[in-house]
């Protein structure tokens, strides 16, 4: 039994004719696990996270957090979770400390306990020195850190992060990803939504891939890439003797299928690093020159492409 369980969630806005944002989504997240919802914009990730944080009521289905229904026991669910929204949701004319104190009060914290926890969080997000400056004076990365800090105030058992790295510099992104891994190590259950394949791959214990409101695949990274096989795709162009090479390359060790389309050859190779020199060597032997080459290791992008016929970034 997972700490977070979604059971056939469905959300239609303005029924009966409105948009169906989530359509029969089910998944479970174990305690202490990082689970990423991966999908393009509009896939329904934010709607799922909104339902799990009791912000939206599902049209059908239910979800449980720590055994509490998001439909019937919203107050209990809310006290267990910390929500980091996609956009910065802070009071810009208040300082970081004032924001944290205010949000702490909204989580029911008061007095010395609140002040102590605010100090801890300011330390954690590395803003103790600038805690009294107004948030609107901060850089994008600093705002993101406060945005996350707010969700940590009440020591939640589960942390939801909705695309927390959108629009920030690489250094801040790295800091956020490291912090998330640290939260997981401390035992926090993390639900993370992103459309960045690399983030999902790096962070997640398990990944759910969403498209058009549906969960189209779910599993560990290894399980997902196995959907498209373990071979790398090598795509190349040559200036002449295409037919001769099409006959030679399938005979090389480590090369699987070879196909050609629109003058481009695609090979499935078991180990691209060791096979590439042989490809160049045989091309030279046949009097041809490789003019263009790309190698794509099996990854989530390929999985999404394989499942939907579209690139993840589309």
């Amino acid at each position: 039994m997972g700490f977070i369980e979604a059971d056939n969630l469905r959300k239609q806005f303005d029924p009966p004719r409105g948009v169906i944002a989530v359509d029969g989504v089910s998944f479970a997240i174990e305690a202490g696990e990082i689970y990423s919802l991966l999908g393009p914009n509009g896939a329904g990730k934010t709607t799922v996270i909104s339902i799990l944080s009791c912000l939206l009521r599902p049209t059908e289905g239910d979800a449980r957090v720590g055994g509490n229904s998001v439909v019937h026991q919203a107050a209990a669910v809310k006290s267990l979770i910390g929500m980091v929204p996609q956009d910065i949701a802070l009071y810009m004319d208040l300082s970081a400390r004032e924001n944290l104190v205010f949000w702490g009060k909204m989580y029911g914290m008061v007095g010395a306990e609140l002040n102590r926890r605010v100090d801890e969080v300011l330390e954690l997000i590395d803003l103790k020195d600038r805690q009294r400056e107004r948030v609107d004076k901060y850089s994008g990365g600093m705002k993101r850190r406060v945005n996350i800090g707010v969700a940590l105030l009440h020591r939640p058992q589960a942390l939801y992060l909705d695309e927390p790295t959108v629009g920030i510099d690489p250094q801040s992104r790295r800091a956020i990803l490291d912090a998330i891994l640290e939260f997981r190590n401390q035992g926090m259950t993390i639900l993370y939504t992103t459309h960045y394949m690399a983030e999902a791959q790096e962070l997640s214990d398990r990944i759910g891939i969403m498209d058009h409101g549906r969960m189209i695949a779910e599993g560990t990274h290894e399980e997902l890439v196995r959907i498209v096989g373990e071979d790398a795709h090598v795509q190349l162009s040559v200036d002449r003797n295409l037919e001769a090479l099409m006959n030679v390359w399938p005979t090389l060790d480590g090369v699987g299928t070879v196909s050609a389309e629109n003058g481009k050859i695609t090979l499935l190779v078991h180990d691209a690093t060791s096979t590439l020199p042989y490809l160049f060597e045989t091309a030279q032997r046949e009097g041809a020159r490789i003019t263009e080459i790309s190698v794509m290791e099996p990854n989530l992008e390929m999985v999404f492409l394989h499942l939907t016929g579209r690139a993840l970034r589309d």
Partner: protein, 430 residues
């Protein structure tokens, strides 16, 4: 815990508002600046309108007449009226013996207007002959407008009073004639003689003179809403600032109420909904913040009005009641209007339009000055009209019991709009 959260939300909003320079300008600087400008335009730091004193050259040629109560001279009465303490801040009278000297005084710019009472003034007014007429001559400096107009108004009013007295006497005599002789007496119906009529006119007029001399002249305030002469002078700054204060409290309230929509768009309201705080508590906190913000605004404006312009707002209890009332009306109206809007831009444009319209109808731009006629009826259709009536009374020294009607009607506006707005918001965010 619920109360703590409501207070936390309200204080957060109040803090945000009073850190916002634009909001401060709209809520505090604008009403004070407008009051200062209008105050300067109408008389600086005096405690009222500072209309320049008009110099009047007065010539009384009236020969008067004897009556059963002794000699009467209506020209002298008019002179006394112009000399009365009520008009000492408006008129400076110099008596001349000849009309030519009085006109010369005007021509030389020493007087703004000359008033000449003809010799037959009393005789004509007290004559039973309806065709008997007499004219007061006014000779005004054409470059002067306000002073001669004041003198003309006062003179006309006195003349109207004399004519009224004469008309009443004539009606009484005709009624007596129509009624016939007293019971038990025989004779024709018209046994009232011309001498009788003359006697009655003289008695009526002399009685009027006596009453006027005993009670004082109220000519300048006889028209329009009656003002208690014992009331304190509210001062132009007080009247203007009260109008500006109510208007800008409405605007200020709407800005804070709009923060509900702003927060929804900026994501802080949805984030609040993910905390273990009930939505009714969050919305309640926002409502309280609207009330606290406009209440603070009112207190600051009242204090600033007292310190900067020397405004005496009135008794503590009625001012406190009216301030609370104004804040409640502002909050209620703001919450209701904003609850009907979908976007911050829509809320900003529409609430501003509504408040300007209400201000025009309710009289905010003429302050809390009492204005008669149709306008006084129209302004009572608006909550600000009732509030301004209340402020006018309090500025003139009214006590709490004198403004109960205004307080009650304004409270009703506040209650209805606040409840309606709250319900709409609750339904919208449920």
């Amino acid at each position: 815990m619920i109360v703590r959260k409501i207070i936390a939300i309200a204080l957060k909003d109040v803090t945000s508002t009073y850190r916002n320079v634009t909001a401060l300008v709209m809520m505090l600087a604008a009403p004070l600046a407008l009051a200062a400008l209008l105050g300067l335009a109408f008389g600086g730091n005096d405690s009222g309108y500072s209309v320049p004193i008009t110099r009047v050259a007065f010539v009384n040629q009236d020969e008067g007449r004897d009556s059963t109560r002794g000699p009467i001279a209506l020209g002298t009465l008019l002179c006394d009226i112009l000399h009365s303490p009520d008009l000492k801040n408006l008129l400076a009278i110099t008596v001349f013996t000849s009309p030519a000297d009085a006109r010369a005084s005007v021509d030389k710019g020493k007087a703004a207007v000359a008033v000449v009472i003809p010799p037959d003034f009393t005789a004509s007014i007290t004559s039973p002959d309806p065709s008997a007429t007499s004219s007061i001559i006014l000779y005004a400096d054409p470059t002067q407008t306000l002073g001669p107009a004041i003198v003309r108004g006062i003179t006309q009013e006195v003349a109207d009073a004399f004519n009224g007295s004469r008309a009443v006497s004539a009606v009484m005599l005709h009624l007596a004639a129509d009624a016939g002789p007293p019971p038990g007496q025989n004779g024709p119906n018209s046994n009232v003689t011309t001498e009788d009529m003359e006697k009655i006119i003289l008695q009526t007029t002399s009685a009027y003179i006596q009453a006027t001399q005993e009670e004082g002249f109220s000519g300048t305030t006889a028209r329009g809403p009656q003002v208690d002469h014992q009331a304190k002078d509210p001062g132009i700054e007080g009247l203007v600032l009260s109008g500006m204060m109510v208007f800008f409290m409405f605007i200020g309230g709407a800005n804070i109420a709009r923060s509900i929509i702003d927060e929804d768009a900026q994501g802080t309201l949805p984030r609040l909904f993910t905390t273990p705080t009930r939505r009714s508590v969050i919305l309640g906190g926002k409502m309280v913040s609207v009330f606290l913000t406009v209440l603070t605004q009112a207190i600051i404006l009242l204090l600033a009005g007292g310190l900067l312009f020397g405004i005496d707002w009135g008794g503590v209890v009625p001012v406190a009641l009216l301030t609370l009332n104004t804040a409640l009306v502002s909050a209620g109206l703001a919450v209701f209007l904003v609850s009907l809007m979908k976007t911050p831009a829509q809320a900003g444009a529409i609430t501003s339009g509504v408040f300007v319209t209400l201000a025009l109808l309710g009289g905010n731009f003429v302050g809390s000055m009492p204005i008669g006629g149709l306008f006084s009826t129209i302004r009572r259709l608006t909550p600000n009209g009732w509030l301004l009536e209340g402020w006018d009374k309090v500025l003139r020294g009214a006590e709490a019991h004198d403004i109960l009607l205004q307080l009650s009607v304004a409270m009703a506006f506040a209650a209805v709009t606040f409840v309606a707005g709250s319900l709409i918001f609750r339904r919208r965010f449920s």
